[in-house]
Each structure stands twice: as C-alpha cells, then as structure tokens.
C-alpha cells in the first residue's frame, strides 16, 4: 500500500514558484494498477519522483508498507529503490557506457541477486536480438523497452512507470501493457503508470487525474 498524505513540492521561489505537486492525498492499494493522467506539465512526473524517492517533498508524508519512506536516509532510500521499486523513466536514462544487457542486469547485480527472470523479460519485451547493443545504437522504442526491463529485473513489489509506452507503436505498446497487466494480475504487483493514452488508462483498474499539481479525480 502506498499512501500519500498532504504531499507538496514547489520548484523555484517567490514569483517564479511552481507548485508541481500541491497537497496531494492518494492511496494506492497493494495489487492495484493505477493510471495517472493529466496535461503536460501538470506534475505527474514530479509525483512519481517523490514516490520513488528521487526527490524530496517539501511537505507531507509517503507511507509505503507501513514505513514512512519520506524519512528514509540515503542508505535506506537507495535500498528501497533497489529492492522494492522498479522505476521506468520518461526519458529512459540508460547508461551510455553499458550495453542493453548490462543496463538491464545492473540492478540485480547491485542487489547481488540472481536475475532468474532475465530471459523471460527480455524475450517478452522483444529485446533478445539487441542485448549487446549500446543505447546509442538502439531506437527510441528499444531504449524504452530496455528501461522497462531494467525496472522489472529485481522483481519489485511496486512498479512506477513514467509513460512506458510513449515511444512505442500501438502494437508494441499493447504488448508492454499486456506484460504489465499480467504482472499485476498474476504476481499482484502494485503498478502506477503515467500515460497520455486513454486506451492504456482504460486497461488500468483506476485512473487518477492531475491538474496543476492537484488531484482532480481519483
């Protein structure tokens, strides 16, 4: 269960201040598949970053599995990111110095775990042929799929996906979505997906809409 209480995040100061996340209260139950939608610049990524502890909230709390993760120090936070969440970044953020395979395997190696699902994930994401390519040698969609694979490799309970299908054609997008839905159904993963695509949002169990940092419908 992820519970957000009065979460606030403001960028900048005074007149140029942008309230990217403005007093958000939200509960995502275990095993839920939640879609977050909203206009560009409405604060979706910021919200997801806060949950993933990639950014510090100005105010409010995030409670995850009975832990108040907002008070984690860097040690605990990195451990949390490594073992409990998978994050798919909007802009992939692959390490250019590593091959696709190395990028995917990175979290499992950091956690000193065996990547048992490596083959399954890469195959289902259609990456088998591209594993020894460097990110700069991959297409945008391929990079996105590598990023998704990386997020899944440690088999986390929570997946935070920032527009995971944004760069994919409809067919591949649907395949990725199938995979996510399957993980949600079969393994009861909690998944939060940011999307602009209404079809994808429809396939989720719940849709949350954000505007100007506020939840307008949940």
């Amino acid at each position: 269960m992820i519970k957000l209480e009065n979460l606030c995040k403001t960028y900048g100061k005074d007149e140029s201040a942008v309230a990217a996340v403005n007093n958000v209260n939200l509960t995502v139950n275990d095993g839920e598949l939640v879609a977050i939608i909203g206009k560009s610049g409405s604060g979706k990524t910021t919200l997801l970053n806060l949950i993933g502890l990639l950014d510090k909230a100005d105010e409010g709390k995030i409670i995850c599995n009975d832990n108040e993760i907002t008070s984690f120090d860097d040690n605990k936070a990195s451990d949390f990111r490594l073992n409990h969440i998978g994050f798919v970044f909007q802009f992939f953020d692959l390490l250019p110095e590593l091959t696709a395979a190395e990028n995917i395997l990175l979290p499992s190696r950091l956690a000193k775990k065996k990547a048992e699902n490596y083959k399954e994930i890469t195959e289902s994401l259609g990456l088998s042929e591209r594993l020894n390519h460097y990110p700069s040698q991959l297409s945008g969609g391929q990079q996105q799929r590598v990023a998704i694979a990386r997020a899944m490799i440690n088999d986390p309970e929570i997946l935070l996906c920032d527009e995971p299908t944004g760069n994919l054609d409809e067919k591949s997008g649907n395949e990725v979505m199938d995979l996510l839905v399957k993980m949600n159904r079969k393994q009861h993963k909690t998944i939060v997906i940011i999307t602009h695509n209404p079809e994808i949002a429809e396939r989720c169990s719940r849709t949350v809409e954000i505007s100007d940092g506020k939840i307008i419908s949940a």
Binding site: D74, S78, D79, N83, E97, L106, P107, S136
Partner: protein, 898 residues
C-alpha cells in the same frame, strides 16, 4: 548566432571554462617565467665581464670631455643611455673619489651591500680601498677621511677595484694615479661642491647593435677615429670603446641554467597536458550538443568557425592573463630577492641588447607557445572526437559489475594526462630536492664546498652562542721561536703600531672587551722555582751555540754569568686588557687586591690561574722579560726587563664566562694579566690591544685606521650565509615551488572536473538504487589510483635518474683515479676527448656534479605521496558532496547535457 550559442554554453559551464583557463594561464605564465629566468641568467653572466672591462655596461667612455666634445661624439643623437662620473680628487693612499649620476642604469657597480650615496655626507666605497684604509666598519658606520666624517651607505665589490687598470691597490697606486687622470673613483661621494678635476662621459646605446655585427663594428671604428683625433689634439685625456658584439661572444654559460631550464620545460609540459586533458573533457561533454547543432542544420564550416572563434578567445585570454600573471610573479620574486633578501641580481626583464638579442623574448614566446598548444589541443580534440563506439558483438557476455563500473567511470584520456602530469611533477619536485639538498651527501663535495660554516668560531668562541656581535682584530705581534724541545725560546719580531691603546679603548662603548697579548714574555729567576711551568731548557750547548749564532753582536754574552741567559727562564704569556675588564674581575680575586693605578704604572701585575694552588704568592716580585729578535729575525736583539710585584691572584672558571675567559686567560695553567699601559710602562714592545669583542654592533668608525683592524660581524656573516644559500637556490627553488604548486593545482582541478562530468551516470546509478556511500567509496578508490600510479612511476624515474647520476659519478671517479691520482700516465688524447664529451653529458643531462644519487629519495617521495593522496582525497570528497537528495534534478540536468 554562433557566438550566442557559444556564450550560452560557457555561461552554463563556467567551471569548465575556468579550469581550462587556469591550465592555459599557467602554461603561458610558466613559459614566461622560464624565459625571463633564462634572460636573467644571461644578464648576470655578464656581471664578470663588465667588471673585467671595468667600465660597466657602456660602449664608449671618454675622459675629460666638455660640452663641445660631447656634441661631437654624439653627433646630436638621442635615445641612448648616458652617464657622467665626476672625479674630484684623491684621498690619502691615492684613492680617487667622485660622484656618479644614474649609476643603476648605465654603470653596474657591483655593490655587495647597501646602496649608492645620495647626500653630501654619504659615501659608497670599494671594499679593497676600505681595507687599505684599515676601516673596520660595515654599512651604516662612519668613516673619517681627510678629517671629514661620512656615513658609509654602500660597499662596492672588492673586485671592482682590484681589476681596474690605473686604480690598482698596490704600491704603484699613487704614481699611477698621478699619471692617469682617467682614474675612475673607488670611493663615491653623494654630492660634492666645487669643480671636478675631470669628468668621464659614458655612453651606452650610442650605436644600435641591431644593425648587424659588421655595420656595428664599422660604426664603432668610426667612433674610434673621432675619439683618437680628439685625443691626439689633446682635447680628451683618454677614451675607450667596447664592442657589444665582442662581449656577447665572450659570454660564459651558467651551470645552474641547465637544471633550471629542464624544470621549466617539465612545468610547461605539465600545463600543456592539462590544457589538453581539460579540453578533451569539454569536448566529450558537449559532443551531443554539437550533434544537435549539426542535425538542426548547422554546416560543418560554421561549426569549424565556432571552434576557431572559441579557440581564439581562449588563446587570447590565457595569453593575456598568463603574461600578466607570469610578469607579476617574476617581478614579485625578483623584488623579494633583491629588496628583502638583498641578493644582487640582474632582472630578466632587462632591455640590455646583449641579453635580448641572444635569448627568446618571454612575451612573444609565451604567447606563441601557449597559442600553439591550445590550437594543437583543439585539432587533436576535434580529430579524436570522431572515434565511434565499437560495433555490437552478438556473442559477448555482459561484463561483470566491477567491469561495468570501470567502463562507466573510465575517462582514459583525462586519467592518462593526469597521470603523466602528476608523474612529471613528482619527478621534477623530487629531483629538484635531490639536486638542492645537502642531506646525506658527502660533506666535502662540489655542492657544499663554497658554503661558509654555519658555526662562527673565533678564538674558541662561537659568536652565535656567546653573543658576540662583532669581532675586531688586527695582526697580533709576530713571535719567532727557536729551540730543540718545548717550550721553545720566543723572540718578538716587530714593534708594530697596529691595535689600540688604552686611550682609544676607553672611548669604546660599554659592551666591548679589548684585549691583547704578549706571548713572548719570560719570567727569569736565579733559583729554580718548582711551582712555575714552561721552563725553557737553555742548558744544551748546541742550543746555546745556535742561539748565539743568530743573535746580534752585542748580545754574544747572553749566557754569561750575571746575564739573562744564565738564569732559569719560564715562558709565561702576559695578557692585556682594559682597566674596566680588570675591575670587573674583583669577584674572582682569591688573594691580594686590584690596584689599577699600580698596574698602569707597571709596578704590579695580576696572575690569572686555574690550578688548585696558586703558583705565586702575593707580594712576590718577579722579573719579567721580553726579548726582541735580532737582525736575523731570531736570536737576541734587544732585551726589555721589569721587576713587578704580584698584586692579586684571580681564578677564572673557563665555563662560567666564556668571553671574559677568552679575554684574560690563555690555555696554560696560569698567565699574567695587566693593561696595555702597564705593559708599555714595563718597557715591552707591542703593548696594544689587538682584539675587540663587541656584544652589540658598534660604529666601526670609532676605531682609528691606524689600528689596522678588520671586522667580523655575526649579522653580516649570517646574512652572507643566507644570501649565499639563496643565491644558489632562490630562482630555481622559487620557480620550482610556484610551478609545482600550480602544477598540482592543475591536477587537482581535474579531479572535480572528472566528477562533474560523471554527474549523470552517478545520478542514474543512484536512481536505480545504488547506495551513494558505496558509490563514493568506489569513486574515491578510483581517484586515489592516479596518485598511486603516478608516484610509483615517478619513483621509478627518480631511481633511474639516480642510477645514471651514480654511474656518471663512478666513471668520473674511475677516470680521475686511473689517470690522475694513481698517476701512471696521462690519458691519451682520444680518451681525454671522449671523457670531455662524457662529462658534458654527465653534467648537463644527468647533473653529475649535483651528486643526486647520494641523497635519500624515499622519504621525500613518501611525504609527497602522502600529501598528494591527502589532497586528492579531500578534493574528491568535496566534489562528491554535491550529490544530495535531488536525484531527479541531477538526472534532468544530465539529460540536457547528453
């Protein structure tokens, strides 16, 4: 538009720009300082030459000219340096004196101390002249010449006077002076009233040497003609023309220069490397940006233009700043050396043609070199930027984590340049240390041979420890000895007038101790006295024959009954000191009483002793004798005898007051003690004080020149020692220091840069869950590798260098032993020739005379290693501290950089 993009980019990357400029400025500055130092070296190598020529740095010198002649010589030219010396007359002993105008500019008078005089009551004088006048002062003391008292503001190098024709300090001096009106003064007076006897006009730069050697010599010949005519007509007394070209080819090489240039060269390489490494990083940092510019349609030509503009701007800024910085640093060091330390050096920023013509211009070459370096760096970076990532290998296994980390953080070119730079710095710092240190080297070697002792011993006293500020001394009486066994029979040779008497001694300050000695005095007695020591054995017939043979006619009866020679003689030194010192001994009197009047009259005498029982009794009368040598310098010439009463016994503990002890006691069990007046009244020759200890600096002018005393000043000796050390080391050490500090700074600069560049990678790793602490540990270890590798590499280089240095030394020693010390046969010519070449290499490449292999390289190496590691560690930590909680922000920033 191009400019706008550039400006925007650099505004966001101020730190990189600063790092780049730092290295560039450093390069230009080091080249500048290095070349300025080369010029300085060249300039100071003319020092000897100017003094051998004696006329300073002037090409044409004409004596006794007037304005009309002046016009004729100069032909109305302008733009030359000109200086007049007026000679007013001569002091006693034949030293000419005069005034000089503009002495620093034209006439490089080598002052060993102080400055040239400015007012009428100041003088600066040649040390040789002062010695000849028996003036025992120092800068700031007074001197009385011809009844007029002056303050001495400067002392001119002795060798200025002794090497000069017509002004030599010998017996011919007076004659020479009267014959040669052109004598240049040995004593300069600040101002002088009245008409000078004659004047000397000195022209420098009348002929432009840049016109070429042949034209120059022709021009010089023309002047020779004009001046010769004038001299033949009797219009000038004398003239001299000196060829700058001749001087230039006469110039000798300074050995320090080689080592020094070598260090500067390394410094320049280091900064060039850092320029390249930083530029390399900048290029990789904005590679994607350039890609974008290309994609949005920027032509290759415009991109090239952009680089060119950027390169030109960088070059311009770094050259300007570098020269300003190098110039100020050089001036600063120069000021420090001349004004604070008091070293006498020429500046490398001279406009002396002799120097400028034969050495590269620091301004021009620092600009050229740093521009070349930055252009080459740009070209190299543009070329290497094209290298693409290797094609994917289908069958490759993913690399293990450690390899991945290595791949992520590898910055090969930056690391390689950092290692190269650091290795070079460490190598040059350590070899500089090995070259200059005396630690662990044989004490008698070429390096330390010329160094004055740091223990300032006089008469068994250490001036430093015993607080003697100055020691004045004249020659002590000469005593000749004859005999077959100790103690030998003494004869005083001269009845000299050197030293001071009580009248003068009493005018000296409280803190002075005047003393003298009559080592020849003999106590005579008809009966043998067993308590007395140093009985002279006169019983042997051969001794008596020998002594009489050397003695004057009227003393052939010396050993006859009733004569002095028939008595028992005890050699007993009589020491002399002032009544003031004797009065201060009252606490040491064990028996008897001190009566200064009776001492002075010669009736009484004191005994200073150290034995348990005193050798004399109070009231005992002794016969004291002094025998002056006969015409042969030995034997009896004249006998002075006196009957004196022992009035007091003083016991001196030699450990208690070392100065008093050294004044009143000799090394024997006992000696006699009285005042100079007392000894004189006893009729003894040489009864003068020939030594003075001053516990504080005193005015040496208080001692009349008739005393013929010379002075040793602790402060002066200490200063000389310091200056000597600094002269030897200062320029090289200062530059070595500045350079290595700046070089280190350049390296340290790269540390932050490297981490800044990997900010994005670090953020991604953190975002997927890497612990920041772990990451920091990895990065720290990574950055510590560079000092480790560099110091090891430098150590290997240093050891190799020491090995070479040692081999050279061995070969030299072997050569010396084989051909000179064992002296079997002189070496054949061809071996000599080969050896010459070898020594040239040994000295110039491996600094054989530096004996660098003898010094310990390990300890400084370890210290250096520790320092570099510590600073690397600190700087890495500081650079890593930037990473806080805002991973998302860092990621965002990284993305736009990508």
């Amino acid at each position: 538009m191009t400019l706008y993009i550039l400006l925007k980019y650099w505004k966001k990357h101020v730190k990189s720009a600063l790092a780049m400029l730092f290295a560039g400025v450093l390069l230009a500055a080091i080249v500048f300082i290095g070349l300025a130092a080369v010029r300085e070296n060249r300039a100071s190598s003319f020092h000897v030459l100017f003094n051998n020529d004696v006329y300073g740095h002037a090409e044409i010198i004409a004596a006794d000219s007037n304005d009309e002649i002046f016009q004729k010589v100069t032909e109305g030219k302008s733009g030359y340096n000109y200086c007049v010396i007026n000679v007013y007359g001569k002091f006693e002993n034949g030293f000419s004196y005069g005034t000089i105008e503009d002495e620093q500019n034209v006439w490089h008078i080598p002052l060993t101390e102080g400055r040239m005089p400015e007012t009428a009551d100041e003088i600066a004088a040649d040390r040789g002249a002062l010695n000849k006048l028996f003036w025992a002062g120092k800068c700031g003391d007074t001197i009385t010449i011809d009844g007029k008292t002056y303050t001495v503001t400067g002392i001119i190098d002795e060798y200025y006077g002794t090497h000069r024709e017509g002004a030599e300090l010998n017996d011919k001096c007076v004659v020479a002076w009267s014959n040669l009106p052109q004598t240049i003064p040995l004593i300069f007076v600040g101002k002088c009233d009245g008409e000078p006897l004659y004047r000397v006009d000195m022209f420098n730069g009348l002929i432009d040497p840049n016109i070429g050697e042949e034209a120059y010599e022709n021009e010089l010949e023309k002047y020779n003609g004009i001046l010769r005519e004038l001299k033949n007509d009797g219009k000038i007394g004398w003239f001299l023309t000196i060829s700058e070209w001749g001087r230039a080819t006469n110039q000798t090489r300074e050995p320090e220069a080689a080592f020094f240039l070598w260090i500067a060269f390394i410094g320049a390489i280091i900064s060039a490397l850092s320029v390249f490494s930083i530029l390399r990083s900048i290029f990789s940092e904005r590679k994607s940006r350039i890609e974008i510019l290309k994609r949005i349609g920027m032509s290759k030509r415009r991109i090239a233009m952009m680089y060119a503009v950027e390169c030109a701007v960088f070059a311009f800024i770094q050259i300007t700043l570098g020269i300003i910085f190098g110039f100020s640093a050089y001036e600063g060091i120069f000021k420090l050396r001349t004004e604070v330390i008091g070293e006498k050096v020429y500046s490398g920023l001279t406009d002396m043609w002799l120097v400028t013509h034969f050495t590269p211009n620091p301004f021009l070459f620092s600009a050229i070199i740093s521009a070349t370096v930055i252009i080459i760096a740009y070209i190299l970076c543009i070329l290497t930027d094209k290298i693409q990532r290797k094609a994917p290998d289908k069958n490759a296994e993913p690399r293990p984590l450690s390899k991945c980390f290595k791949q992520i953080f590898s910055q090969k070119s930056v690391s390689a340049t950092q290692i190269a730079a650091l290795t070079l710095i460490c190598f040059s710092v350590i070899s500089g240390y090995l070259y200059y240190t005396d630690n662990g080297k044989y004490s008698i070697d070429l390096v330390s041979y010329f160094r004055p002792s740091s223990n300032y011993y006089i008469n068994g006293l250490n001036m430093e420890e015993d607080n003697i500020a100055e020691y004045y001394s004249s020659a002590a009486p000469t005593v000749n000895y004859i005999g077959e066994k100790e103690p030998l029979f003494p004869f005083v040779v001269d009845n000299f007038s050197a030293g001071i008497d009580d009248n003068t001694a009493n005018t000296l300050p409280e803190y002075t101790f005047s003393f003298g000695s009559l080592p020849q005095t003999l106590i005579s007695s008809e009966k043998r006295k067993f308590r007395y020591i140093n009985e002279i054995d006169t019983a042997s017939e051969s001794f008596r024959q020998g002594l009489l043979a050397l003695s004057d006619e009227e003393h052939q009866n010396f050993f006859d009954e009733g004569q002095l020679g028939s008595e028992y003689l005890y050699k007993t030194e009589t020491r002399l000191t002032t009544s003031k010192v004797i009065e201060s001994l009252s606490g040491n009197v064990t028996e008897g009483e001190l009566n200064i009047e009776k001492l002075n009259s010669g009736e009484e005498i004191i005994v200073a002793y150290q034995t348990i029982r005193p050798p004399f009794e109070i009231g005992e009368t002794i016969s004291l004798n002094s025998i002056s040598a006969g015409a042969t310098g030995y034997g009896v010439g004249e006998i002075s005898s006196a009957e004196v009463k022992i009035s007091a016994l003083v016991k001196i503990n030699p450990e208690e007051d070392k100065v008093i002890n050294s004044v009143v006691r000799n090394k024997e069990d006992y000696n006699l003690l009285t005042t100079a007046t007392g000894a004189e009244n006893m009729g003894f020759p040489c009864a003068k004080y020939t030594g003075i200890y001053a516990l504080e600096p005193m005015d040496g002018g208080l001692i009349p020149s008739s005393a013929q005393m010379k002075m040793k000043s602790l402060a002066m000796m200490q200063h000389d020692y310091l200056v000597n050390q600094l002269i030897k080391y200062s320029s090289s050490i200062a530059i070595l220091l500045v350079m290595s500090l700046l070089g280190f700074a350049a390296y340290f600069n790269g540390i932050g840069m490297k981490i800044r560049q990997k900010k994005y990678e670090i953020s991604v790793l953190r975002a997927v869950g890497t612990n920041l602490k772990e990451l920091k540990k990895k990065l720290l270890l990574e950055s510590m590798k560079i000092p480790l590798i560099s110091t090891i590499a430098a150590y290997v280089l240093v050891k190799l260098f020491q090995l070479m240095n040692w081999l050279c030394w061995l070969i030299e020693v072997w050569f010396a032993h084989t051909y000179y010390i064992n002296n079997t046969a002189p070496p054949p010519d061809y071996i000599d020739a080969i050896f010459d070449v070898f020594m040239d290499i040994a000295n110039n490449v491996f600094f054989e005379e530096g004996l660098m292999w003898q010094a310990n390289a390990e300890i400084p190496m370890l210290i250096l290693f520790a320092v570099i590691c510590a600073v690397t560690f600190l700087l890495t930590i500081i650079a890593l501290r930037k990473f806080k909680n805002n991973i998302a922000g860092d990621l965002n920033e990284g993305r736009t950089r990508q």
